[in-house]
């Protein structure tokens, strides 16, 4: 089970990012637990300066803008 955190204040892009991640995980058959982190202090604690951010199993893999589908697949299967 991959632990995925989507960092973002709940903007439209953050929603889209979460949906992309869920869809890609389902396509690859990787079990994931997706959690949204919307608290600003918690987001800042991860050391990113742009949202949405993606944290997989405690590692920040992405910050700022929508991720690419290929990249999501790479992170989920890594």
């Amino acid at each position: 089970m991959k632990d995925v955190k989507i960092l973002g204040p709940g903007c439209k892009r953050c929603q889209t990012t979460a949906e992309m991640l869920r869809a890609e995980a389902e396509r690859l058959g990787v079990p994931v637990h997706v959690e949204k982190v919307t608290d600003y202090a918690a987001i800042a604690g991860y050391g990113i300066a742009a949202t949405p951010g993606i944290v997989i199993d405690g590692t920040v893999v992405h910050a700022g803008g929508l991720p690419k589908t290929d990249d999501i697949a790479r992170w989920l299967t890594a």
């Binding site: 960092l7 204040p9 903007c11 892009r13 396509r27 690859l28 058959g29 990787v30 079990p31 600003y40 202090a41 987001i43 800042a44 604690g45 991860y46 050391g47 990113i48 300066a49 742009a50 949202t51 951010g53 920040v60 893999v61 992405h62 910050a63 700022g64 803008g65 929508l66 990249d71 790479r74 992170w75 299967t77 890594a78």
Partner: protein
Amino acid sequence: MTTGISPITAPGPQPDPDRPASWPWIAGTAAAVALWFLLYGQLVPFSNAVVALLPLEHGSRLEEAVRFFVYDTPKVLLLLVLVVFAMGVVRSFFSPERTRALLAGRREGLGNAAAAGLGVVTPFCSCSAVPLFVGFVSAGVPLGVTFSFLIAAPMVNEVALGLLFALVGWRVAFTYLAFGLAVAVVAGWIIGRLKLDGWLEAWVRDVRAGTAVLPVGEVTAADRVRAGIDAVRDIVGRVWAWIIAGIAAGAFIHGYVPAELLAAIMGRDAWWSVPAAVLLGIPMYSNAAGIIPVVEALIGKGAALGTVLAFMMAVTALSLPEMIILRKVLTVRLLAVFVGVVGLGILAVGFLFNALFV
């Protein structure tokens, strides 16, 4: 669908053989730019043909307004696509994390100037303003330097500069760039000098964030072209309605507002017009793309340039929604200082400009 796929590629900067070759993307870009110029050259015949088709009285005000609208809408949209694409490619070389690393621990002064300059080229969306602010401050970027970035980023952006350049001329665009950066540098420097770190919201001061190190993959020319296309899709998709509304307002001014009236209200002789323009600009939330067709029409009707620039800066740099977002990290006192310092800077630009350029 299989479960438990073994890792194919590890994250890291190794070249990926599956990546598409760059040359088709570069060739495609060249072809698209050529097509763009072809279309752009047909704007005048196109708008004349469309206006001739409509049952409008020749030489009437309505005809003038419609002509402005029919000519400006495709023109602004074409320009916007080109400018946003180009900046999307440029911005693929920058990221907020990298900018932050460049600015962390910088001295004030030079740091303010660097922050304002980076504010122009770093990808930034106002929805990200709070994480960015906290991320900068907690990583050791001085408060005043952070403000310089935060003032320049929305005010002096590619859309504003590109459209001003194309619609109003390079002199105005260059002036806007220079004065916009000056406001960001000076206002940030003043805020830094005032030593107001204690006026941040308490939770911001308590954040002790590390700085995330993101895996950087190899970025190819194809990726940069794609970044440009993504930027066009995202930004043009978001602002086109604003632009149409702005052009409609510009068309109305162009066709119906008498030049004498406008000169009396926004002319150089009306000293109060600069503060009035700033006050009017704050609650107006448009973006640069929507406001520039209005700027074009106002200048065409004899409004003073300084007054118009002050209006535009107030609309982009001091918007009410952004203040509501910033209120999450700034106390009311610090927010008031921010608005006051930036507002005074914009006023100074307006007055200075009207006095200098006759």
